[in-house]
């Protein structure tokens, strides 16, 4: 073990980490938006929307992320749609996380007592007013811990994009190990960077939860 190696290559690894952060951030945002849409479809009374939401979560959660990434990056060109590694990675991660996020959002909304919606409607609020001012603010609090877990999982799973020639933190580490033959140092350094990023999520979500929980 030679820790000087770590210091020497840390800047290069950090560059890979930036890509990992970019990918994760985009997937978090797009996945959450998509997840919200699917969650609302799932709780709607419309059978077609409901059916679609069920099918989506069944399909995505029932197949490996790696396979989904391969289908998008290697499979789609066969149908005439070629995506850059970055676009394919963002698409794959977003589509995948959306299914999990949708389930988190749906469960949180449905866990709110029915009396809340009834009380809101009984003073004359519309469905959307009741949702946005009464149900969702309470559901957020219940979503936060599982969403924190989901985002951490997403960040770690983003390492799979290394397999579709995306140069993220994992891929950078692999490349450097191949040139330096110092696997121990390189992978420990990469691991430390992943830990730093996941810790960021843990701390932020912990704070958010405490802040939102003032009323309990």
């Amino acid at each position: 073990m030679d820790f000087a190696v770590i210091w020497k290559y840390l800047p290069v690894l950090a560059k890979g980490a930036v890509t990992t952060v970019e990918l994760t951030a985009l997937a978090v945002v797009i996945g959450t938006l998509l997840g919200l849409v699917i969650a609302f479809a799932a709780i709607s009374k419309n059978v077609i929307l409901k059916g679609f939401a069920r099918f989506y979560t069944w399909l995505i959660r029932g197949t490996p992320l790696l396979l989904q990434l391969f289908l998008i990056y290697y499979g789609l060109p066969q149908l005439g749609l070629t995506l850059s590694p970055f676009a394919a990675a963002v698409a794959g991660l977003s589509i995948n996380s959306a299914a999990y996020i949708a389930e988190i959002v749906r469960a949180a909304i449905q866990s709110i007592d029915k009396g809340q919606m009834e009380a809101a409607r009984s003073i004359g609020m519309s469905y959307f007013q009741a949702m946005s001012r009464v149900i969702l603010p309470q559901a957020y609090l219940r979503m936060i811990p599982p969403l924190g877990n989901e985002f951490i999982a997403l960040l770690k799973d983003s390492s799979l994009v290394a397999t579709i020639s995306m140069v993220d933190l994992m891929r950078t580490a692999q490349q450097m190990y191949a040139t330096t033959f110092r696997p121990m140092e390189i992978f420990i350094a990469a691991g430390a960077l992943y830990l730093l990023l996941t810790t960021f999520f843990t701390v932020t979500f912990g704070r958010l939860e405490r802040k939102l929980a003032v009323y309990q």
Binding site: S44, K45, D113, G115, Q116, E118, A119, A120, R121, S122, I123, G124, M125, S126, Y127, F128, Q129, R133, V134, P137, Q138, L141, V214, Y215, Q216
Partner: protein, 247 residues
Amino acid sequence: MVKVRNLHKSFGSLEVLKGVSFDVSKGEVVCIIGPSGGGKSTLLRCINHLEEPDKGLVEIDGKPVVSTTRSIFRKDHHLNKMRSEIGMVFQRFNLFPHRTALDNVIEGLVTVKKMRRKEAREIGLEYLRKVGLADKVNEYPSRLSGGQQQRVAIARALAMQPKVMLFDEPTSALDPELVGEVLAVMRDLAKGGMTMLVVTHEMSFAREVANRVMFIDDGQILEEGPPEQVLGRPQKRRTADFLRRVV
């Protein structure tokens, strides 16, 4: 003020309301009593359309309580307006836990009546004072006792200046020593001329405050009349049996 005609409601194969009709005039207090599962809650919930009746008519002040759209994407202005004129108080309070007492009371004023916050606060404070909670304005519901929560819920409904107030067993979830403070607020309200429909098991309250008592069993009004008659000299066997059981 309230007109109900031939109301029917089933849940699946279970017929819960089997043609209920009655009127409540302005300022009248009607207490509804009857055995569990008889359809009392369902009747109240049909009046403000939390349950959609299968058949029949509900009118408040001459205007029908009906939904005008099937889609949740279109705002049902008519129904929302009607509901804002019908105050509802639930057995389990259903306060918004993430809002302080005052914010619970002004929520409808701000979102439904589009009132400015400052103006709404004035009104909210007034109603909280009215139910004796001027000192709990900024408390969250979790920090209030059941009786206090229910009084906030009453203030929340009153703030909308409803034409009629519906109470569904407002004291049933309360510890016995907290029942009195809620009934006192309701008594004041009745004295003030509010039109009220109250599902309750508090017979002494019904005897004292009600202008009329309705006994509902098996989805029908079995007997109705002034409290001294229905509670004192019930005409029907089932009413008498019920009263014997609850007293």
